[in-house]
Symmetry: C2
Subunit: 484 residues, 2 copies
Amino acid sequence: MNKNERFVKKITLKSVDFSRWYVEIIQKAELADYAPVKGMMVIRPYGYAVWERIQRLVDDRIKKSGHSNAYFPLLIPESFLQKEAEHLEGFAPEVAWVTYGGKEELEERLAVRPTSEAIIGNMYAKWIKSWRDLPVLINQWANIVRWEKVTRPFLRTTEFLWQEGHTAHESFEEAQDETLMILSLYKEFVENELAIPVISGKKSEREKFAGALETFAIEAMMSDGKSLQMGTSHNLGQQFSKVFNIRFEDRNQKLQYVWQTSWGVSTRLIGALVMAHGDDSGLKFPPNIAPVQVVIVPISAGNWKENVLPLARNIEEKLGEEGLRVKLDEREEFTPGWKFSEWEMRGVPLRIEIGPRDIEKKQVVVVRRDTGKKENVAQASMNRKVPEILREIQKNMFEMALKFQQENTHEVKDYEEFKAIMESKKGFIKAFWCEDQVCEEKIKEETMATIRIILLDQDKKAARGKCVFCQKPTETVVYFGRAY
Amino acid sequence: MNKNERFVKKITLKSVDFSRWYVEIIQKAELADYAPVKGMMVIRPYGYAVWERIQRLVDDRIKKSGHSNAYFPLLIPESFLQKEAEHLEGFAPEVAWVTYGGKEELEERLAVRPTSEAIIGNMYAKWIKSWRDLPVLINQWANIVRWEKVTRPFLRTTEFLWQEGHTAHESFEEAQDETLMILSLYKEFVENELAIPVISGKKSEREKFAGALETFAIEAMMSDGKSLQMGTSHNLGQQFSKVFNIRFEDRNQKLQYVWQTSWGVSTRLIGALVMAHGDDSGLKFPPNIAPVQVVIVPISAGNWKENVLPLARNIEEKLGEEGLRVKLDEREEFTPGWKFSEWEMRGVPLRIEIGPRDIEKKQVVVVRRDTGKKENVAQASMNRKVPEILREIQKNMFEMALKFQQENTHEVKDYEEFKAIMESKKGFIKAFWCEDQVCEEKIKEETMATIRIILLDQDKKAARGKCVFCQKPTETVVYFGRAY
């Protein structure tokens, strides 16, 4: 296993320098590469395969809950963005502007979409006439450009991919139901498929989406203890329908403005998978999302091409028929040990080793990426056993991440304890907050911690306490954390 | 059926004004709508569902033939486009330029991608080192912007969606094999799934892609007799690898430039579906691509909600279980006749009518969109019969289109006959051509006909003839047509 060790040494260890490990592993595992335009990245086939899995699993859920996909233009007239003041203020600093079409200077600048509320609002005003046209439940898969100053692959890039849902409803209540339904759809998806536990709740005024009435979010703890926003769901109220004049005749023949929502998850989730599960050996994908679930490495000794390879191919085919994503590594130029460490680094959940001795014993050796545990499995029972182990890995990875999250979530009673924890430890601090923005700002200034979410009533044990900063009595419970 | 007639009358008849019918039916059937930016469109859910079907069916074929998807940046530095002179000349007039990021003017203008050869070439130079890295077989699904002067929904829009394959190979032959393999993949897809027969072959120098060595294409005859380019596959040779310095160490340790291909199909195919199959009653989708394959219309007389609706729901469920895309039209505000004509207009291949009398007879009435033929089908045999009829429709639609194409393909011996046909009739003219660009230009000037494809040797009956324009002896056979 000397080769193995050497191979991994090329990457900075996660335990030594988390940020450096993050950018190195992404390039080394060929998830993404830097593009020649500042802050942009190329999503390479292995990384894009993860995105395709995310797309498929999210899209199925979006469609099942009654939404359809559509596509709206990339370029948005500046005057549209200007209509909603708060929205403009939020996005103007980071808009990329198209000013020329061919050789002609445009009369009006066009924004490369930083989000699509404005252009979609304009179309909804045209399409929606009556309560019979509602609800409108549309989603879009698209690329987004935001001129960010500080970027990091997947987490914050000048261009990224996402889905953005945009719905219109008859009433506030219906819009609120939609907003919260999507929030729990996201939570269920991230926890069950990405094996990442999340906390969910409302954003504070300071952290909400520019133009929304209320923003809800799911947040997850990365393995460095920092918080990553994984998805947001906004109740837009009537802010956009009023400026874009999206009106409908209600059931009593009265003209009303529609109530809207918008919500999205993005390629940022790939960064979350890296940071929540990875270790010193590299990536660690949960089976449900892994582009390759099982890698078969034939032990290349003696005349392995005659005796081992045919059996390895046979196993590949059989597991493929079970619906598993399997790869057989037939490369001749690498040793088995090198292959082991490469596929570990690339996060494949399960490795099957097969050599001459295994053929004799009618078995294979199965090695789990999550625990490193080795196990002999009889070839005859493999088709049942391999999916079973993958399910176990999925479950175990979620439990490991949940344990980590719980161990690093602290309840504090006063601000001294708060500061001490933010200095020495990492993670979430669960505390009472008086809802005063002054306390929020002060805490941020002094500790770099922000309010990640405000717990919803349904998730809260009825209790009263005192604001962790000003000691004013309150019922509001929030999670603080340092955020990406 | 008065309501029915009135409904269809709102659309210009195809037989009266083809272009007007085209833009009206697209809006009326809610495939797409005009966006507030000139030349841009919104693809509405019904149109996008067609695109999702196309994507799924093309993507499956692309992956099966060994390609993987990836994603490259939207914005491309101007200097990259300038590297390949021919390429720049071809695209510069139609590039949308980003000049500002937030409030800062950029040092170098960025092109919103008009195609991705340049940005991908830059990355391939970084990734490819050895013959072991080849072939690189990558595809991208993306949006494209070209500042077009004259636009028409789906056919030519400032922004459109497509897939673009970009591959790199060790030799010219391997690149040529890839180029032609993709050409036949496209032909098979368009004929089998879209039910549109195509002619395929090489483009003339005049018509080829800016920067390619050779361009191959499939072309189809629309029902107004004009030709539409449906997909292209380019052998790029070493033009891009030389300017982007994409080199590999070959099997003899010698440095070589890679050989490249690129190829794509786009949302234009949705326009082709409209124009190849539609009629005076509206759209006509082939079952394999139809977002809705079967619409169930309950005959709403008497207490239909108690007796007809439950059975209709049961049929919807059963056919859904067969894997069919089924819609039950439960709306109360419309009569059955109105619904019939609406779903005809929207191109649904098969309609199932069910009323009180059908319940008594344990049957349903099935109406085909392609022929208008009505048939009673026993409820007990429906699950077998409906998929069977859909397969027949798919086959019949292709045959109808092929018959039309053949009837409108003319072989001419001299230029007088050529001109006469282009004046009076529509369609393709199959003729000999001397390969001289002068003849090609003259023909275009005088008849508006261009060379759509040059027949490949394999598709040509060995023969010699005379150029239809200059009478010079030649073996080259081409198809002329007026193109979109």
